[in-house]
Symmetry: C2
Subunit: 463 residues, 2 copies
């Protein structure tokens, strides 16, 4: 495709995306196709000859859109917000157009240095510890997801423990029963035995980790000759947005020599608002921390922001240097090579979409955005409290509200099914304390009061 053809077709695609965003509210939020429906419509083989670009655009409408669950709909209240704001999408487009590899500083210095600076910007915006800044021994890096960030944190901690003489099979780590499943997956990937992950009980009302249980487990394990090495605290669990007592867990981690990883994937964005920073109390004790600008900070997936207090621990765990990657800049020690901060070698220039988003909205715009959704969720929680057939299944500290019917799981399931079948909104579920709950996640870029009100009417009606 020549640059001139790209110019022409690119405009058509921009228009298609703009049209899509304009009409996204018209579609049923959840796709209604059955398994195999798209497969049956797609040709069995690739075309021999190239096709006109117009065919591709037409097929987006006829083949693809029916199979889309519309995460960009303002009526999407499922899972978590996965926002794709305009500036972010356009940053992604520039990244794809430049098509550079950011694996080494030298393979495109701008990719590394813009990312370093933006990660420092975020440290300030979220009031994270100065120790995370890249002008000291720490630093931040963009990962594809919090799953990968958690895995990297675990590997760095595992490496440190093994270098200190621990045997892999004796290692023990801790997180609440509500921690994200990515931690269990990371444990498995890292080759640690399943029993190495110990689940800390949570408070039955708040679903936050009980630090005294953590301490008891650490002591029990140490007494048994095992090696506690890692603890994860959650700021915003996936199920109910529970906030662990990071300070108490961090103080225990320090006293016991454990690596403290803070998983704030869901709720790190809240820290951009000073009045919501109570969620981050104690975060200065963290050895590593991650949150997802691709959830509630208007950057399109993938963009997880991950920091470490001591980057050398991470690099020692992940650096392998073959001859064909050697270069003068790396050997000078004057640069960071982000390939050593992540699982894969190659990396896209993801900093561009974060840069475009932070600059287009500005810190004030982002604070207003987060605040607006938290306020809507708080209002929604108030409505639930006033409705005798419904109850809150967990505290709703920020922008997630977990709701259940007082008549039990069957009635709660009917709410979920009825709202989703209507197609005007989309909800997902969880289990809290063994009981089904509907999760109302308020955070899609274009969700306004009217969308939340309509959802509330639909829920009340179903209840």
């Amino acid at each position: 495709m020549t640059p001139e053809e790209f110019r022409q077709h690119g405009r058509a695609v921009v228009d298609w995306v703009a049209d899509y965003l304009e009409r996204v509210e018209q579609f049923p939020v959840q796709s209604r196709v059955a398994p195999g429906e798209l497969l049956a419509l797609l040709p069995e083989a690739a075309p021999e000859q190239g096709e006109p670009f117009a065919n591709l655009l037409a097929d987006l409408d006829t083949l693809i859109l029916p199979g889309i669950t519309h995460w960009q709909s303002p009526n999407f209240f499922g899972y978590f917000p996965a926002n794709a704001s305009g500036p972010s999408i356009l940053g992604e487009l520039v990244s794809a157009g430049l098509g550079v590899q950011g694996m080494l500083w030298s393979t495109s210095p701008a990719a590394t240095e813009l990312e370093m600076r933006l990660m420092d910007w975020l440290v300030e915006l979220l009031a994270l510890p100065d120790a995370f800044r890249s002008d000291g021994p720490g630093g931040g890096v963009i990962q594809d997801s919090a799953s990968s960030a958690t895995l990297c944190a675990l590997l760095a901690a595992r490496e440190r423990a093994v270098r200190q003489g621990a045997r892999m099979e004796n290692l023990r780590l801790y997180a609440s029963t509500q921690a994200h499943s990515s931690l269990e997956k990371a444990v498995r990937i890292a080759g640690l035995p399943a029993q190495s992950l110990r689940q800390v009980d949570v408070d039955p009302d708040t679903f936050a980790a009980r630090p005294e249980m953590l301490l008891a487990m650490v002591h029990e394990d140490r007494d048994a000759g095992l090696v506690p090495f890692f603890v994860q605290a959650n700021i915003g669990t996936t199920s109910s947005m529970a906030i662990d007592p990071v300070r108490e867990m961090g103080e225990m981690a320090r006293a016991e020599g454990l690596w403290l990883h803070v998983d704030a994937a869901m709720s790190g964005s809240a820290a951009i608002c000073p009045e919501l920073r109570w969620t981050h109390d104690g975060v200065e004790l963290a050895d590593s921390y991650c949150f997802n600008p691709h959830k509630h900070l208007l950057v399109n997936f993938d963009c997880d922001a991950f920091w470490v207090r001591d980057r050398s621990a991470l690099i020692q765990a992940l650096s392998v240097l073959p001859e064909y990657l050697r270069n003068a800049a790396s050997e000078s020690g004057a640069v960071l090579d982000y390939r050593d901060w992540q699982i894969p070698l190659g990396r896209r220039f993801r900093a561009l979409k974060l840069w475009f988003t932070l600059r287009w909205y500005g810190a004030e715009g982002l604070r207003d955005f987060v605040r607006g959704h938290v306020a809507l969720a708080q209002e929604f929680a108030g409505w639930v409290r006033g409705e005798p057939r419904l109850e809150l299944a967990a505290p709703a500290p920020l922008n997630l509200v977990c709701v259940r019917h007082v008549d039990g799981d069957g009635a709660t399931q009917r709410i979920l099914d009825e709202v989703n079948a209507g197609g005007r909104a989309f909800l997902t579920h969880t289990r809290l304390d063994g009981k089904l709950a509907v999760r109302v996640s308020i955070g899609q870029a274009h969700t306004e009061r009217r969308h939340v009100e309509a959802l509330w009417q639909a829920i009340r009606q179903a209840a």
Copy 2:
């Protein structure tokens, strides 16, 4: 940003990218900035107020472009081709615009089913084993990189071996001394001891693994009570594009009960041309296979294509199912959930860019593209053979030519330095048999005969 603003700014970005692609040849290929140069120009903090979009575009020119090493220049002959063709870039744009999560079938059925079908298309296009097709027990999936694919293959094989009773510390795996560094990294991530990776000697002329050495090592290890479980064969090593004897290694793997992973990241694209399929002889013996459409098949990074013969092995290794991801479609068993085929949980709709690329160029267009570069590289290798001051450092079976000066490393280094300093082309290096070699990788989307001729003049002059 409203859809209407997106339309307006999106057109400006499309024009910016088109302009960039038009003028990319004018820039020095390798960035000339010094460490810290961009950092010094970037503000210390994010802006408080949002900025006009025009500021962002202006800064791309003034701040970012000087720090770019131009992987999209037709004079980029370094590392490997990382092509960003027009249709692929626009597929990426649609993916960012739709902003869906493809982690589960149910979170956007089209994302999963399009990917399944495209991976089947590629099986046919490359004449890969039918066992890789998703309508049987195997299947394919898009990974971010071959590093991640290799890690997934290793984890699936490790899981199988451990379920069969092997102890982690006794596991042994095999690959040639020329295998990509991602394998060593995967071993470390997977928690296998460093000594578990055994390096198989290569033929001193071809740099291909010596299968008799592999067999000897496997027997030696078994005799020592260890558990051989995995072998990797390379189709196109990074250093010199060496092609291992996949058939012989595969037969040994079958006989010995080892998982055969084929890493064709560099040269899998060659198999799209029937006359180059000799490189893939024996690939039907593979348990897993990966290649990178984001290298030499015009799809922009990230797009690694990864297949397994038995998807249950992969899923057993990587599936963790929390309540909040449960859904009726997954439990019906009628769908694939790609989250269980990869390290992270979240995933972009990467199939779109592959789809756009395959349809825009068609199979014929892609074959012509690959053929053209292989022919240019063969011609280049002929020129080297005819130049007494230079010699081939390795066979040049496809589109990579490794060259050294007959006077030794000092003279070879001077060629590299002089060509790169000139800015008209960019080359990287490797070491083969202990000696420095310049790698000439011919595969950038817009590289034509005139670019290769100009490079040859520059090399001859430097020599």
